[in-house]
Amino acid sequence: MTDVFQVKEQLAEFQDMKSSDPKFIVTIKSLMEDLAQHIKEEETHDLVRLEEALSARESEDLSRSFGRTKMFVPSRSHPNAPNKPPFETAIGLMTAPIDLVADTFRKWPDKTVNPNPSTK
């Protein structure tokens, strides 16, 4: 499992950058390098092993919890928030409303697959 903390930290830096910033593309590229590694390890190893251990029902329950959790967690990166339940749950509930209010003032893609947490 690659370093998710590092990804979160890079995201915290990237999320507040202006797209005109000369470091904008460099930053997202560096973030994506780490993220791609994490994605590859998860998809080829960690999750494959997890699925081997899970029944269909258990896997679906997990995916349902995953989808629901995404509805109420913060929508911006807060790398210094604790990263393990139950602490992150509590911190998440505190920061999520602030992120969500700020989200309403951000620009989104037109044909957005959309920043409504209920879609994911």
């Binding site: 370093d3 903390f5 950058m17 999750l47 620009k107 989104w108 893609p109 409504n116």
Partner: protein
């Protein structure tokens, strides 16, 4: 905060998110499965988000993907937002997809920490080592006797 008032607060939060839908697309992903609401249902849901919540509960099990597929789908979306950012020469479009990317990745990362890593710990023999690796290296969480949460970055 009492239990009922915090519950109400959470419901309000969820409702607000349901309503905050740029482009007026009402798409729900109930319990991991995606559904596009039909016209009648969407109009009803726009009037009362509670109806939408009810349609979550009624979502058929068959629409729920396995966890590996749910996560893969997120990964493909992140990659597509990344492609938009790096391949665009339009600063405004880049900003839009920067926000979209951030929104998706921030939530994905935290939901993994809350739901998927504990599953590694629960179901896989060496899962604990696997799930704790990143966390341990970088962060320590402790609670003082007064329940003040103290986090320290130990890198």
């Amino acid at each position: 905060m009492s239990r009922s008032s915090s519950l109400l607060w959470l419901k309000t939060l969820i409702n607000r998110q349901v309503l905050r839908t740029p482009g007026n697309n009402i798409i729900t992903r109930a319990a991991g499965g995606e559904q596009q609401l039909g016209g009648k249902e969407a109009r009803a849901a726009a009037k009362s988000p509670l109806l939408l919540l009810r349609s979550f509960a009624a979502a058929p099990r068959a629409m729920t993907p396995r966890i590996i597929d749910a996560i893969k789908q997120d990964h493909r979306e992140l990659e597509s937002y990344y492609d938009k950012i790096v391949n665009s020469n339009n600063p405004e479009e880049q900003t839009r997809f920067q926000n979209q990317f951030t929104w998706e990745l921030a939530r994905h990362a935290v939901a993994e920490e809350l739901i998927v890593y504990p599953a590694f710990e629960k179901y896989l023999k060496d899962g604990n080592a696997m799930a704790d690796k990143d966390r341990k290296e970088h962060q320590v969480v402790c609670i003082s006797p007064t329940y003040t949460i103290i986090c320290s970055d130990q890198r």
